[in-house]
Symmetry: C2
Subunit: 317 residues, 2 copies
């Protein structure tokens, strides 16, 4: 199934949801496109230097975590307690090795913590203070929880609190026209050796109960990679992606039903998820370098490129 | 696919691992069989009274949690810090509704907390102090962490600490001949309406790092139920079950490749998992009432019965 000489490529997302075309100013759109393109370039650079898909998705997600407009790392949403709790995951399609973290509060880049769990522990998933302590003991950069604060997210949280609700990813946008700074992030890549990798990172839902975990750090739900089929990172209403084991379901349809990447994506993202309330999307890449970025919402912040190409970015359908 | 008049049934496990036939005294074996049979009856009673598969797996797992010989609830293993951190999950095959908890320290019956997350929150997974707080706010029974203490587990922990290792489920048994009180628990059931359900609960690995989560609370890995295919609860080396999304993989082989329950179980438990170090087993039931309890280890504590049958229990191959 593996392509003898695939062209390395990367695709990523900064979240999906209700992103009406008239809701972002030209200046705001420009900032989103810049953030997406910068992250694509970070991953692309790794691939152009002959690096691994695993390193490419790590660096792309770190760039998205560090960019304040996306809901991961700096710029993450607020919990009900006014804090930030961060989840992330990573998977190596060559070995099926995985690492994930949930409810981090003190590690600057959660995706690096997920990778540390994968490479430097006997575990695949760690959460809470134990996960923070493990990651920091590995030498990862520590920050105060307030490092993740941004004014935009704070204003969003205040609006959601006033409504007494919980904003699900970008769907808060329907109510929060003044502030559209949210979104899970993730990346998938194919390297020159034909290996796939995926990574996902998020601050979760605005005003979430402390301890809530969605699909982002759950292998098979919000992140999956297997060289034999596909690498996937998901974004959207995490609970439905968990219930349907959405990322693994796409891979399984390819492996067991012989579906193409496009067919499997359509069956899951366009047909299976919506009746369950599963609004969202994914970025996916297969071993031949086919990239798909399907979503069943009004928009998804996304970007992609092969090596030595100018990154493409998009927001709306 | 659904059977018009299925005979309700339940199957459960108390963990799999290296359980050599000469390692348990007749008195110890008797206690294990009694615990398994009691849990089967707890679930069977629900089904005989016309209750749901969801209630049956809940009551069976509560019985296993309360029984001190199994590694879940009272009798859970110790973390590196000398505490207990408990994980559990539940899934309704009719609706694909799920709930899961990780790293609980204060809720007496983790499977009830998982069910509360499913039925009384907008989430599917909660961990740590936030999960404890949520569950207790729902009126679930609270205990001190020391409630989960047992002398046998303490002795086991001391032995593992002395060796500087981490005991994976029952495989500690190979080193800890004097004390074999360990094991994840789980149950699957089919009710008279043809609905499937699954639940899993565990104390995890002996001497685990605080915050470590294995497959037990991860939907698709250690627990899965879908009326169209199968209900599964897994036990074993959790990390490999996570990496392979083992429970969902069995369901997917049935749904997409047309594999029988037996074929899908063999392909995953006997062929796919062992090369990755995935020692363990599962209990599974399909909509026709077919029960399978495959494992690739020396033994698995297990029990099963249809309604109005005497519960069958077994330990070795």
């Amino acid at each position: 199934m593996s392509n003898p000489s695939p062209i390395p490529a990367i695709a990523l997302h900064g979240g999906a949801g209700t992103i009406a075309k008239n809701s972002l100013s030209p200046e705001q759109e420009k900032l989103y496109h810049a953030g997406l393109a910068g992250a694509v370039r970070a991953g692309q650079r790794v691939l152009e230097e002959g690096g691994t898909a695993l390193d490419a998705v790590t660096e792309a997600v770190v760039a998205l975590e560090d960019y304040p407009l996306f809901n991961a790392g700096h710029g993450a949403v607020y919990t009900r307690d006014g804090k930030h709790e961060l989840d992330a995951s990573i998977m190596d399609g060559r070995t099926l090795a995985t690492g994930a973290v949930g409810c981090l509060r003190r590690v600057r880049n959660p995706v690096r913590a997920a990778r540390a769990v994968m490479e430097r522990s006997e575990y695949v998933f760690m959460v809470g203070e134990g996960a923070d302590a493990f990651a920091l003991a590995q030498g990862l950069a520590e920050v105060e929880n307030a490092y993740f604060d941004t004014e935009g997210r704070y204003a969003q949280w205040q609006l959601v609190r006033a409504e007494g609700g919980t904003a699900l990813d970008h769907d808060a946008a329907s109510r929060l026209a003044a502030n559209r700074k949210f979104g899970t992030v993730g990346a998938v890549a194919l390297d020159r050796d034909g290996n796939l990798a995926a990574a996902t990172s998020t601050g979760g839902m605005t005003n979430k109960h402390s301890g809530r975990i969605g699909d982002s750090p759950l292998i098979g739900a919000g992140c999956y990679a297997d060289n034999r089929t596909v690498a996937i990172s998901a974004t959207g209403v995490g609970e439905v992606f968990v219930r349907t084991v959405a990322a693994h379901d796409i891979a399984a349809r390819m492996e067991y039903a012989g579906a193409s990447l496009a067919e499997a994506c359509r069956q899951v993202i366009m047909e299976k998820l919506p009746p369950l309330g599963g609004r969202g999307g994914i970025v996916a890449i297969d071993g031949a370098g086919n990239v798909l970025l399907p979503f069943n919402t009004e928009g998804m912040y996304r970007g992609w490129a092969r090596v030595n190409e100018t990154p493409a970015t998009a927001i709306y359908t």
